[in-house]
Amino acid sequence: MLNWGNFVSQLFNGVVLGALLALIASGLTIIYGTLGVLNLAHGAMFMLGGYAGWLAYSYTGSFLVAVIAGSAFVLLVGVIIERVIIRSFYGRPHEDQLLVTFGIGIVMVEAARFFFGSLSKTVPPPSGLVGIVDLGFMMYPTYRLALLAIVAVALIVLYVILYRTRLGMIVRAGIEDSGMVDALGINVHKVFMLVFGIGAMAAGFAGIVNAPVVSVSPDVGEAILVQTFVVVVIGGVGSFPGAVLGGLIAGEIISITSMFNPGYAYVMLFAAMTLVLVLRPYGLLGVAGRE
């Protein structure tokens, strides 16, 4: 028996979850597309954004400051990590890159645990966004609605950076053929550093704006990382529109399956990923031959 009210509610849930996944995945996908490095510390960046934001919040009491501080801090961390560690790994095999980013992730998670403990930290939503809205078909937390808007805006900003700026042009060119970009005399290193920073910041930003929904703990990025990978694979590696589409698809699969039996939500998600890998190995909006 299909409960239509529940179905529409779950569809909507899927959009909200999907948008968040899209934002995190877009960070992962532009880093991989441009630098060729699969960043396994991406989940830790998400976590780090949450903690930096929470810290800023507990000193200032301002959600806006928390969001800015959280994102800026992760941007900085991203830039430093690229400059100090990742850069020495561009010429090395993928396995080394996986290991080093995996290691960076572990260090960051354990550092958070060391400084802040295992009890989760809560960042309340800004006072105007507390409460519940009646959407007609369901009651929905006001902040989650706002979150959808916030994430949509962030995705638009990312789109503008990628498609309407010189940096974005270089990044997109780099995704197609970074060797050629280098040969054209563009300082690829500087661009790489920025791309890594911005990609990390997308995760960090998501981490802090999601903190009022899922309180922050050292492991908060772990599950997100796995889902984000699935999104990137479904959407197509290196494709920003792919990340958005993949995110929404993943969100809907999880939500709609949950309506029937939540136990199968992830089974269906991975089944969808497998299907994409078989039928379109480079992802829905990916381009064949991209590394």
């Binding site: 529940n6 645990r113 937390p141 309180s215 492991d219 999880i254 309506m259 136990g263 992830y266």
Partner: protein, 448 residues
């Protein structure tokens, strides 16, 4: 290393053969045979583990993942117990009178590994402790999946296992083990203790949504709870939302509950999953309109969600620090713990402390580290003092007979201090809450 191993191997085999005959006669009904140390075959880490001046206990607790906060708390209880055993603290002596600066003249040491609440990690860590530290006992678990795995491992390796937090009926039910002992309450006793309180407070024929983590703990607690409420009060389970351990976004589950017509949410989720589901149920406006019930209390729940969200919530638990008013040993424990760690202990810490103290009692009373001797000491079922009054073990399934504490969340304005989250509503005596020892299929394994 290799040579030593060979020598042990030979002597072990010889001893085993000699011991098999002895054990056979010793087990013959009605016969009492004096047992000397040299008659006992080497088994597990015995006697190597207790040859030196220190004996070691291996703990595999979750320090990462959804149960990390509870694992850390549990670990603190263990550390305090070890300290008390080694200094012959008066609290330990009330539980284990023969302890004096150690157990049987040996100091106790603790080695710790992170299990991440994953059975494989826990078993691997304990295997390493057996090989490297020759541990005489192992402990840890905040997940019944880990407890059940260590139960089987304990029987196989012949190492005592002091179950830490484990709420599944199976731990002393169908997956019980000769080498394992559980101190804390579990699904069946929780349901039988909190059920009457719920029916008395809210009446009959209600509709409840269940939130169940997808493993042995969740399924058995949900079963016990729903059966009690259905049988005695005609409550109906309108939906059962099963989520994997470690879920962070419960929006899908809560949406289903919102559309289920439930009046109550029986939330069996645990650890961080419980914190997040309680917070998000509030965000979605389900609570306080729907009443939240927590059949298996989570340490730090109120501290993490804030008292606003646990106000009026009924929960069944193992221990709450205000029991110090009722039980002198609880008072001593709470004082010692809060002095050392700067916060009031939660039930995981109390349970861990009591498990260690009880082990020290059994070993010192038995006068031996030889595992079958210690197990038989537990199985005498003698009454001893604990932080929740007099308790004893059931020899048939190795479950402690102990009260279950029913608490209700205080309103923030009623809290006398910042850790005064719960009111103790009732202390329900344990024996009548328990199923018959064989009702859940417990068959203990062999001693040797």
């Amino acid at each position: 290393m290799t040579i030593e191993f060979d020598r042990n191997g030979v002597s072990r085999r010889v001893l085993l053969r000699a011991g098999a005959g002895l054990a056979g006669t010793a087990l013959a009904p009605g016969m009492i045979i004096p047992v000397f140390a040299e008659d006992k075959p080497a088994m597990g880490t015995w006697p190597a583990g207790s040859k030196g001046d220190t004996v070691t206990i291996g703990a595999a607790v979750p320090r990462t993942g959804a149960y990390a906060a509870q694992g850390e708390d549990e670990l603190k209880g263990m550390e305090l117990a070890v300290q008390h055993i080694n200094e012959g603290h008066e609290l330990i002596k009330k539980i284990a009178p023969k302890v004096s600066k150690g157990v049987l003249g040996k100091k106790v040491a603790l080695v710790v590994a992170d299990s991440g609440a994953k059975p494989n990690n826990a078993v691997q860590a304990q295997q390493r402790f057996i090989n490297e530290n020759k541990i005489v006992a192992m402990t840890g678990s905040t997940s019944s999946a880990v407890a059940v795995a260590l139960n089987k491992f304990a029987d196989r390796e012949k190492i005592l296992y002091l179950v830490a937090i484990s709420g599944s009926n199976d731990t002393t039910g169908k997956d019980c083990a000769r080498y394992s002992f559980r101190q804390c309450f579990y699904g069946e006793t929780a349901a039988n203790a909190i059920g009457p309180v719920l029916l008395k407070t809210f009446g009959k024929d209600k509709k409840a949504a269940f939130m169940t983590p997808d493993y042995t703990y969740g399924h058995t607690v949900t079963k016990s709870m729903s059966e009690y409420l259905a049988k005695h009060g005609g409550w109906k389970m309108v939906t059962n939302q099963i989520s994997p351990l470690g879920t962070s976004d419960f929006s899908q589950y809560l949406t289903n509950i919102a559309n289920s017509g439930a009046e109550f949410i029986v939330n069996v989720n645990w650890g961080r999953d419980a914190v997040l589901s309680v917070q998000q149920a509030k965000q979605f406006g389900l609570t306080p309109k729907m009443k939240m019930v927590i059949p298996y209390q989570i340490p730090f729940l109120a501290k993490e969600t804030g008292a606003e969200l646990t106000e009026g919530v009924f929960a069944a638990t193992d221990f709450w620090w205000t029991l110090g008013d009722k039980y002198p040993l609880a008072k001593m424990f709470v004082e010692a713990f809060s002095k050392k760690y700067g916060y009031m202990p939660e039930w995981g810490a109390n349970n861990a402390y009591m498990q260690f103290a009880t082990w020290a009692r059994m070993v010192s009373e038995a006068g031996s580290f030889y595992p079958p001797d210690v197990i038989k000491q537990y199985e005498k079922g003698e009454t001893f003092a604990s932080t929740v009054g007099d308790v004893h073990f059931r020899p048939e399934d190795h479950q402690l007979v102990r009260p279950v504490i029913i608490v209700r969340g205080k309103a923030p304005k009623d809290m006398k201090n910042k850790e005064d989250y719960w009111d103790v509503v009732e202390v329900v005596p344990g024996a009548p809450l328990m199923q018959k020892p064989d009702a859940f299929g417990c068959k203990l394994g062999s001693y040797t």
